[in-house]
């Protein structure tokens, strides 16, 4: 599904290149559930942002669903991204001024779905995630777990093929975390959504089908579960 070849990401600091990712290559197939692990500063989030096209590598080739991403223009990249990718954040990043319903609806607006269609899709996912009763509340009125649930619902609303999650349970207690992981597993198994998550927790990593360990911007080890 996606392929990264010789990807590097660095920042120039007073003439010196400060590498975040260093000549990293990686292939991920459709239907995989990959967990990326590693100590702070090993480049996990940068890797995820590059895969998610929120950031561009300094060097290297990036292929996604048959497109050479490194050659695409911003607009085309954005269109590709909208179609295939959903993002889940550690800090949920819901829009404070929008209700649960409106937060989930927003990606559909950007993808030009019609009003009636949007209504049906949002109603469907609210139902699936069991948060119909919360739909008119604002993020500040929800617990962390509930907010993350909304965040995931928002990421999934447009039926992406790839779900990227940057420490999705980092701000949650263990019980809430487990629930989220169960949900990920179910999405992966039953709906066939490819998932890549960054995590610090061994336990959460083991929900996936492959664990990649990063160190100093390089893949240190990769094991299939």
């Amino acid at each position: 599904m996606l392929s990264l070849q010789h990807i590097s990401k660095y920042y120039q600091v007073s003439g010196l290149k400060n590498f975040v990712l260093n000549d990293l290559s990686l292939e991920i197939d459709q239907g995989e559930f990959v967990s990326i692990m590693g100590p702070s500063g090993s480049g996990k989030s940068s890797l995820l942002n590059i895969i998610g096209m929120l950031d561009e590598p300094s060097e290297g080739y990036h292929y996604f669903a048959g497109h050479a991403v490194h050659q695409l223009k911003e607009k085309q990249r954005s269109a590709l991204y909208k179609q295939y990718i959903g993002f889940v954040f550690q800090a949920y990043h819901l829009i404070d001024e929008l209700t649960v319903y409106e937060n989930i609806e927003t990606p559909l607006i950007y993808q030009d779905f019609k009003g009636a269609e949007r209504k049906a899709m949002v109603a469907d996912i609210l139902d699936r995630f069991n948060i119909v009763g919360k739909k008119d509340l604002f993020p500040a009125q929800l617990s962390g777990g509930q907010q993350q649930l909304v965040g995931i619902a928002r990421a999934l609303i447009a039926k992406p093929k790839l779900l990227l999650a940057d420490e999705p349970t980092g701000n949650l207690n263990s019980k809430q975390g487990e629930e989220i992981m169960e949900l990920f597993r179910k999405l992966n198994k039953e709906d066939g959504v490819t998932i890549i998550q960054v995590t610090h927790s061994e336990k959460n990593a083991e929900y996936g089908s492959r664990i990649i360990n990063l160190l100093d911007g390089k893949i240190e080890s990769s094991k299939q579960l």
């Binding site: 942002n49 998610g52 929120l54 950031d55 607009k75 954005s78 991204y81 909208k82 993002f87 954040f89 800090a91 990043h93 819901l94 829009i95 404070d96 001024e97 929008l98 409106e102 609806e105 927003t106 990606p107 607006i109 950007y110 993808q111 928002r154 990421a155 447009a158």
Partner: protein, 796 residues
């Protein structure tokens, strides 16, 4: 999608009440100023255009070129010119001679109703040229009968109540009865020519003895004339045919090199200043000046919006990041932020309409207009829609482009800290704002300095308790008896009569010969005033040398008194007992005295050369109350005396000091308007500064906390937060000063008697601006400085 944007915009407005209020009210004030100035400008341009054929209407005027006064343009001309134009110039559809319509005061009496109103005499075609709508009667025959009169609606109502006035009679000046043949609608306020009634020109010719030869005398330049050109005929076609008419027909007028010109009606109001025979400007200068001020105030308000929106960007940054991460493109975000600024602009616009509606009555009384918001005019709303869109775009584009440029990865990590790149444009904008505001304030002060300067100018006479009344009806013939009665009343100190009031010069004549005149010297155009005895004593003017006129009307019939300016103009040494000739007379007159210069006309121009002659042709009577007289009692008593001598006229009086003050009306109006707009500009700027200070204090909460823990005092923190702003305002003062020197300096050139702009006004304005700035930001700065550092640091 727009609905979604507007929803979030609305929630942002509601959630940040103080910030929104600053934004909306500041913008509303700016929009209201621009709107009210816009309405005023439209009103100024609408002058006289209510007449359907206004494009073809012209006033006939004359250019003269003389040695002493250069080229000057006047509206006064002689009747034979009108007859020639009417009969011999093809392309002129109608021509009408008039007297000074609107400036001729007459008494109109019906039964016990006495009115003293301004009107004039006009030839019948006047009403065909000026197609004032008739309520009763018609333009065709309203002024054909010499003993007829046309009234405006309010005058008709005042004289006849609700009864039909047509064919009823009015007694004019207690001499003749005139039949009402027409009633026209009241002249709208946006008309240059204002009058309440018209009498036929033929009536004037038949009843006023001095008019007998006026129709054939080319030198009697005492009238006005108006023409309408045939449709399709342009002024360029007519101009060469009329240019030399006076020169050709009248050998006596040739020394002045007269040229006939046409002054288009559409320019009367805005282009009425003539220089070298051409209309070069006039009120249009003020229209342009205030248009610029309106745009500046709106710009200042828009800058507030830009600065506050971008300053708050950190709060919005996360939203931008999230939206980009869930699929928004930059263009979507730009649309969103523009929609948001449009919404705020629209709300501000609603407030501005309210502000304008509330301010209009005051504004109308200030500028003497009848401006209203044209609620039912669809063109107005179309323009307002464009106005809102443009303002929204102007205010919202910078925030929109700035906010939408954030990199999602960085803002979601929370690492966005705006650096110099964002705060530099903001500083430039603040400097722009304050430069405009300070320049406006300096200019306003200079206008007031100029007014005060002219008011402080010695007038050369004493205006205190000095009163004037028109010498109307029978007063002139009974003057000596009236004078005795007034002096005997116990309220009056002194009485005199003259052909001009104290504050105006009604006639100019030529001073033809004087001792020492060289062959190349032309005659001098000189202000001519016929006075009674006691004139100088009553006005409080002092004789420099020589003597005053005697009490006998006949003894001094060949004596004149000159003012200092006249003596200086003709270079007369030892003027007393010299012989001069004037007004085309062959018999010389003797100079018996020289009076010190007095301001008889504009307080802004040099004193004109004037000649005073002892004569019985008075238009005004002037009298001074005794110092201890009670004004109300005096007026009651004076009313009785005047009524007994002049029963057909109401007793109307003016105080000379009030009349003199009217000469500053335009300047005071300009000063007031400039002051109001400058005040609003600085207020709006400070509103923005208040918001910015709040933002900076909030942004530096942690820094302030740490500094306080390290031992900084409240005043040190206050200084820390204030000094950046003070620096900006200081720079603004430096930028504003040359601008505020150039434009007022240009304005002052209009005035011969003017101030020189000194450094004091700039220093004072700078100090004032800095003090205002300090007061504005200190509220936030002190609040931040007083905050317990434990609180601000705990939240980190």
């Amino acid at each position: 999608m727009i609905k979604n944007y507007l929803k979030i915009a609305w929630r942002n407005i509601v959630n940040n009440k103080v910030y929104s209020a600053i934004n909306i009210l500041g913008l509303a004030a700016g929009m209201a100023v621009a709107l009210i100035i816009g309405l005023w400008v439209v009103n100024e341009y609408s002058f006289d255009k209510f007449l359907p054929n206004y494009k073809q209407l012209y006033q006939v005027e004359l250019n003269f070129t003389t040695q002493h006064d250069g080229e000057h343009t006047q509206t006064a001309m002689a009747i034979p010119l009108v007859d020639v134009m009417r009969k011999e110039i093809p392309g002129i559809k109608y021509a009408a001679e008039t007297d000074w319509v609107g400036w001729q005061w007459h008494s109109l009496v019906v039964g016990d109703k006495k009115l003293y109103l301004n009107g004039g005499a006009a030839a019948p075609d006047f009403l065909k040229i000026f197609q004032y709508p008739f309520v009763k009667g018609s333009a065709k025959d309203a002024l054909t009968d010499p003993y007829s009169i046309v009234l405006n609606e309010s005058t008709a109502k005042a004289l006849f109540g609700n009864a039909d006035p047509i064919n009823k009679f009015i007694r004019i000046d207690n001499q003749q009865n005139l039949k009402v043949t027409g009633v026209i609608k009241d002249i709208p306020k946006n008309a240059t020519k204002q009058f309440t009634f018209l009498t036929p020109f033929s009536f004037k010719e038949q009843t006023e003895s001095w008019m007998k030869s006026a129709r054939t005398t080319w030198t009697n330049n005492s009238f006005n004339a108006f023409v309408e050109l045939q449709p399709g005929v342009t002024v360029e076609q007519i101009a060469p045919k009329i240019k030399n008419l006076v020169y050709e027909h009248s050998p006596q007028m040739r020394p002045g090199k007269p040229e006939v010109i046409l002054h288009p009606l559409k320019d009367w109001h805005l282009y009425s200043d003539f220089k070298n025979g051409k209309a070069v400007g006039g009120f249009i200068d003020y229209v342009r000046m205030f248009s610029i001020i309106g745009i500046l105030v709106l710009l200042i308000a828009c800058i507030n919006f830009m600065n506050l929106s971008t300053a708050r960007s950190e709060r919005r940054a996360r939203e931008v990041g999230v939206r980009k991460a869930i699929g928004s493109q930059r263009s979507d975000l730009i649309t969103q932020f523009l929609a948001e600024s449009m919404l705020i602009t629209f709300i501000a616009f609603l407030f501005s309409i309210l502000f304008v509606q509330l301010a209009l009555p005051y504004f109308n009384s200030l500028v003497d207009s009848a401006i209203s918001i044209p609620y039912t005019n669809s063109i107005f709303w179309g323009i307002m829609l464009i106005y809102v869109l443009l303002t929204g775009l102007l205010a919202g584009s910078r925030p929109a482009f700035y906010l939408s440029s954030f990199n999602p990865v960085k803002v979601l990590k929370g690492s966005i800290k705006e650096g110099k790149s964002a705060s530099l444009p903001r500083k430039i904008l603040v400097v722009t704002q304050f430069s405009c505001s300070i320049a406006l304030i300096i200019s306003t002060i200079i206008v007031y300095q100029q007014i005060q300067h002219a008011k402080d100018r010695p007038t050369g006479y004493n205006a205190a308790r000095l009163m004037m009344t028109d010498m109307s009806g029978d007063l002139n013939t009974k003057y000596d008896a009236l004078k005795n009665d007034l002096l005997a009343s116990g309220y009056i100190e002194s009485v005199a009569a003259a052909s001009s009031p104290v504050t105006n010069i009604y006639s100019h004549m030529s001073l033809d010969k004087w001792p020492g005149k060289s062959a190349s010297d032309e005659a001098v155009n000189i202000a001519a005033v016929f006075v009674s005895d006691d004139y100088f004593k009553t006005l409080g003017m002092t004789l420099k040398e020589g003597r005053d006129f005697t009490h006998s009307w006949t003894a001094d019939s060949t004596s004149v008194i000159l003012n200092e300016a006249a003596v200086k103009r003709i270079g007369l040494k030892n003027p007393i007992n010299q012989l001069v000739t004037w007004n085309g007379n062959t018999v010389p007159v003797r100079v018996i005295g020289v009076v010190k210069d007095a301001l008889m006309d504009s307080p802004f121009t040099p004193v004109e050369p004037a000649i005073f002659s002892h004569g019985h042709v008075a238009n005004n009577i002037m009298y001074r109350l005794l110092p201890n007289a009670n004004t109300q009692d005096a007026i009651k008593n004076l009313t009785k005396i005047f009524d007994s001598y002049n029963p057909a006229y109401p007793y109307i009086y003016q105080f000379v000091d009030e009349e003199y003050n009217h000469k500053f009306n335009l300047e005071i109006l300009v000063g007031k308007l400039a002051g109001i707009f400058a005040g609003l500009a600085i207020l709006i700027s400070c509103l923005g500064l208040f918001g910015l200070a709040a933002y900076v204090a909030e942004q530096r909460t942690k820094e302030i906390g740490i500094r306080k823990v390290l031992g900084a005092s409240v005043s040190q923190v206050w200084l820390l937060l204030s000094k950046d702003f003070i620096l900006l305002v200081g720079i603004s003062c430096i930028i504003a000063s040359p601008v505020a020197f150039y434009f007022p300096q240009h304005w002052l050139q209009k005035y011969d008697y003017r101030i020189t702009i000194g450094p004091v006004v700039f220093v004072l304005s700078a100090i004032a601006a800095i003090v205002i700035t300090l007061i504005t930001i200190s509220f936030q700065a002190i609040k931040a400085a007083l905050t317990n550092p434990v609180k601000s640091l705990r939240s980190e």
